[in-house]
């Protein structure tokens, strides 16, 4: 492995000393502005916004949800989460588009001579086998208990994606693709994204308000409680895990399956 030293200076490029002078001037200005901004901040640990106090007081009674952050994410500010979900959805779509196979690239494993991949050691494989189960279980727990304890669909979804990454770490890309086939992953992402909207439309039909929590709220602290909150959390979990697995698969596919045309430098 070669380390990246300072690249040779091109004509017209600033010297290191000049760049440092420029940084010192800019850095001093930024530091001054930030210190000025610190003046207006509340004291350390001082928490007095009314909105936060109000939500803390009413969320448990109103929505039978003991995790107030999740209640805000999926109910009081559910529409924001809908937009955020589609930001991730759009980002993953764009990535799939960017990392598609180009006409001059060929599909196939790299030539043996180019492969510098070491075989996975038995210790790593064993650790991965031991980790996959707990990771999946943790993902399910975090997703389904989002309305009771910290966590929720986003956190659980990303943990589920890392479980598949552990599969890759302990085996190889074909095995990872067998465990999580592209069609399944893409379907999960789409179902999650559409599910959120459909639950929102359910609120529109039942109460004439989009994303209104229209299901019975149940008893606070029970697994089935909080009305639509756990369902929205679950759909976000599906969408997020699908999106992240799709991102990782696309990157891995670029690395392992798609080769530039012979004779051209990448």
């Amino acid at each position: 492995m070669h380390s990246l030293g300072a690249p040779p200076r091109r004509p017209g490029e600033l010297s290191f000393a000049a760049r440092r002078r420029l940084f010192l001037i800019g850095g001093a200005g930024l530091a001054g502005l930030m210190l000025w901004g610190l003046e207006g901040l509340p004291d350390y640990g001082d928490f007095s916004p009314l909105y936060g106090q109000l939500i803390n007081d009413v969320a448990v009674q109103e929505r039978s949800t003991t995790a107030v952050v999740t209640a805000v994410n999926f109910d009081y500010r559910g529409f924001d989460t809908l937009i955020e979900e589609f930001v991730l959805f759009a980002a993953s779509l764009v990535l799939v588009l960017l990392l598609r196979r180009l006409r001059e690239e060929k599909v196939g494993p790299p030539a043996e001579a180019e492969r510098r991949v070491h075989t996975t050691s038995a210790a790593v494989r064993l650790t991965c086998v031991a980790l996959v189960g707990p990771a999946v279980l943790l993902a399910i727990y975090i997703t389904t208990h989002g309305h009771l304890t910290p966590g929720g669909g986003f956190q659980g979804g990303v943990i589920a994606a890392t479980a598949l990454l552990i599969v890759y770490l302990g085996s190889d890309y074909p095995t990872m693709e067998r465990v999580g086939p592209m069609t399944l992953v893409a379907t999960a992402e789409a179902v999650g994204a559409v599910g959120f909207v459909l639950i929102g439309l359910g609120g529109l039909i039942a109460t004439a308000e989009f994303l209104e929590n229209f299901l019975p709220h149940g008893t606070a602290g029970e697994l089935i409680s909080g009305g639509t909150i756990p369902l929205l959390s679950l759909s976000v979990g599906l969408e997020v895990s699908g999106a992240f697995v799709l991102l990782l698969s696309e990157f891995l596919e670029q690395l392992l399956e798609i080769q530039p045309k012979q004779g051209t430098e990448p």
Binding site: S3, E114, V158, T162, F244, L247, F251, L255, P266
Partner: protein, 76 residues
Amino acid sequence: MTAVQAVALVLVASGAWATVMARDPVRQAVVVSLYGLTLGILFFSFQAPDVALSNIVIGAVAMPTMILLAIAKTRK
């Protein structure tokens, strides 16, 4: 400020410094993963477990993985 919060702040500051000081991108990807973990501890110590959970997975696993894969692709 509790002792745990102070320790977490120091950890984050040293993690950020270490990330900048590691000049090789591959090393940097590994160090930034540790930095993501310290940020998770910081969020947790400031009573934001939801954010801590996200950051441990995104900052310590997903982002370094993508950096590593991008480096591997461009160096091939």
